[in-house]
């Protein structure tokens, strides 16, 4: 139980800043030179972080407000008690959060911490980035000749959220999910609780976002973009390939429609799989789930979501497209 003395964080940070300012640039250039792959890697990494920051701020503003200003258990009381009904209510409610997946993770985390049943919070987590109006409008703009794509995406995204919510309430064990601890209720004003929760949730979720961005930038540079060519014609494989591509690329759900619309040779169903899988399973999202709900949760939830999302896309694509 004996603890080492606390790290002198402030001197370490000051030292780090000084060293970085003095030699950072030269050390960086000495080690990697002007290697184009490394430059591309850092451009993509910085881009993913900058792109996500506003949505993350929106998400943590909401999560901090939930934790500080809503009385304990208020959200849980609003939702129907039976999870069979609470799941669809929370899933549809996800449609009003105008952000991408980075915003929904901290909010869902605070929902669970505030007493909302896990299946409902998870349905919200999955539906918010998939079916909000901004994303649907972007999809309509990217597919001007296939307006049915918008309907297919909305139906598919919502269906995945509901199925996963119900699956979790049927099969999930409480031990798998480690909910974020509630902010300290004792002591401190509400404003202070709001500030510390915001600060903590931003740095926590943001850190895991950076982990995901590191992985995505690395794969962006390492994986040959030509690997998808020639697969477009093969029926089942093409769906799986675009679903995997969505996991790897980590494109924000507001931009993914533009990316996949430009891929030639793939069927609409395969493109739908990209649009349905991307907002619910990608590297940065999985990293953030690990951070918020724990590794035992993410290693079960993410693969299951992937399978359900692919199956739902094939089904919805077969009927609507």
């Amino acid at each position: 139980m004996r603890q080492p003395p606390p790290l002198p964080v402030v001197p370490i940070v000051l030292l780090g800043v000084t060293v970085a300012a003095l030699v950072g640039r030269y050390a960086f250039e000495l080690v990697v030179g002007t290697n184009e792959a490394v430059q591309t890697w850092s451009t993509v990494f910085v881009a993913i972080v900058l792109q996500a920051v506003p949505f993350l701020v929106l998400g943590v503003l909401l999560s901090a407000a939930i934790s500080a200003f809503l009385p304990e258990g208020a959200l849980a009381r609003v939702l129907p008690r039976r999870s069979a009904v609470a799941v669809p209510v929370a899933g549809v409610a996800g449609g009003v959060l105008p952000g991408c997946e980075c915003a929904s993770v901290p909010v869902a985390g605070r929902m669970v911490a505030g007493g909302v049943p896990a299946p409902a919070a998870l349905a919200f987590l999955l539906s918010a980035p998939a079916i909000n109006p901004v994303v649907l409008v972007a999809t309509a703009v990217a597919f001007p000749q296939n307006p049915e794509m918008v309907a297919a995406r909305a139906v598919g995204g919502l269906l995945v959220a509901l199925v996963m919510g119900w699956l979790w309430s049927a099969l999930g064990r409480p031990g798998w999910l480690r909910p974020p601890r509630p902010a300290h209720r004792e002591g401190g004003t509400r404003a202070e609780r709001f500030r510390t929760t915001l600060q903590h949730d931003f740095l926590h979720a943001g850190g895991f976002l950076a982990v995901g961005a590191l992985a995505a930038a690395t794969l962006n540079v390492v994986v040959d973009p030509a690997w998808t060519t020639g697969i477009g014609g093969v029926p089942v494989v093409s769906v799986l390939v675009l679903a995997l591509l969505a996991v790897v690329l980590c494109v924000c759900s507001e931009a993914d429609a533009f990316v996949v619309a430009g891929l030639s040779g793939f069927s609409l169903t395969a493109k739908l799989a990209f649009l349905v899988v991307g907002p619910v399973v990608d590297l940065k999202l999985v990293a953030m789930q690990v951070g918020t709900f724990g590794r035992r949760f993410a290693q079960r939830f993410a693969p299951a979501t992937f399978v359900v999302a692919v199956a739902v896309s094939a089904l919805v694509g077969g009927i609507l497209l």
Partner: protein, 265 residues
């Protein structure tokens, strides 16, 4: 003192976001329309950071988590000097609560220093020839090819991706008979010669698609420097592959890099 670290980190992150928008560096990473959002988010983070610094300075020094931890570390847990069971249980609970103290920086949060370091010290350039050459010369399929006539008298400036789409997916029907002006950077061509190229982003550099137009014609005997920005005046020529674009250059001249390195669809 330690409770100041997280607010300072928040402040620095927010300040970098604001700085990127104010000085315009952000267009190398995200689309220009993202600027107001980024500035707002950055402003909020700096404000919350400042608030935290003020609150942390005002807090009584004995609340310092470091001092409490130090005091706990001096308590014996076993041996003849061990504290009684009740005290130990209380300290253990305190310690666990503090392990999740919201005033501290979660370990993983330090990773956010990396993008700050990159942006401030070694700002990564906008995507260039390396990224452009990776996906091959085929022009991404447009949702709908623009069919309206080019605007303005010749020579008419055309967005590079617009030219490439009209050339590769509409057999250049709306380009024939015009003299166009394209602006882009140089990507060397493996089989000799070079492409005038441009990246198009919808949201950020992670979703960039590359558009390459092969430059042919008399003024192209010398390949200009990789990644240098050039303005090509020329006429449509059919590409040599399926869905590729090419231009017959009449004039090639170097230009300054544009304010926005990416084109927006």
């Amino acid at each position: 003192m330690n409770r100041l670290v997280a607010p300072i980190l928040l402040f620095v992150l927010g300040a970098v976001a604001v700085q990127q928008v104010v000085f315009g560096g952000y267009v190398d990473y995200v689309r220009p329309g993202h600027g107001p959002l980024l500035a707002t988010a950055g402003g909020l983070l700096t404000a919350v950071g400042l608030w935290g610094v003020v609150a942390g300075l005002r807090a009584a020094p004995e609340e310092s988590a470091g001092a409490a931890r130090l005091a706990r570390a001096r308590v014996h847990t076993r041996g003849p000097l061990a504290a009684d069971r009740e005290t130990l249980d209380r300290l253990r609970a305190e310690e666990q609560a503090e392990g999740h103290d919201h005033a501290r920086v979660p370990g993983v949060g330090w990773l956010l220093v990396l993008p700050v370091f990159l942006v401030l010290l070694v700002p990564p350039p906008a995507l260039g020839a390396f990224a452009a050459s990776r996906a091959g010369a085929e022009v991404p399929r447009p949702a709908a090819v623009a069919t309206e006539a080019l605007a303005g008298p010749d020579p008419v400036p055309v967005a590079l991706h617009d030219y490439a789409e009209r050339a590769a997916w509409d057999d250049g029907r709306t380009l024939a008979g015009h003299t166009v002006v394209l602006t882009g950077f140089v990507t060397p061509r493996e089989a000799g010669g070079w492409y005038l190229s441009r990246m198009v982003i919808s949201c950020c550099a992670a979703d960039a698609r590359s558009y390459l137009v092969e430059v042919a014609g008399a003024p192209t005997e010398r390949v200009p420097a990789k990644n240098s920005w050039q303005q090509v005046t020329g006429t449509y020529a059919p590409g040599d592959g399926t869905h590729t674009a090419r231009i017959t250059a009449l004039e090639v001249r170097p230009v300054a890099a544009p304010q926005d390195p990416y084109e927006v669809p």
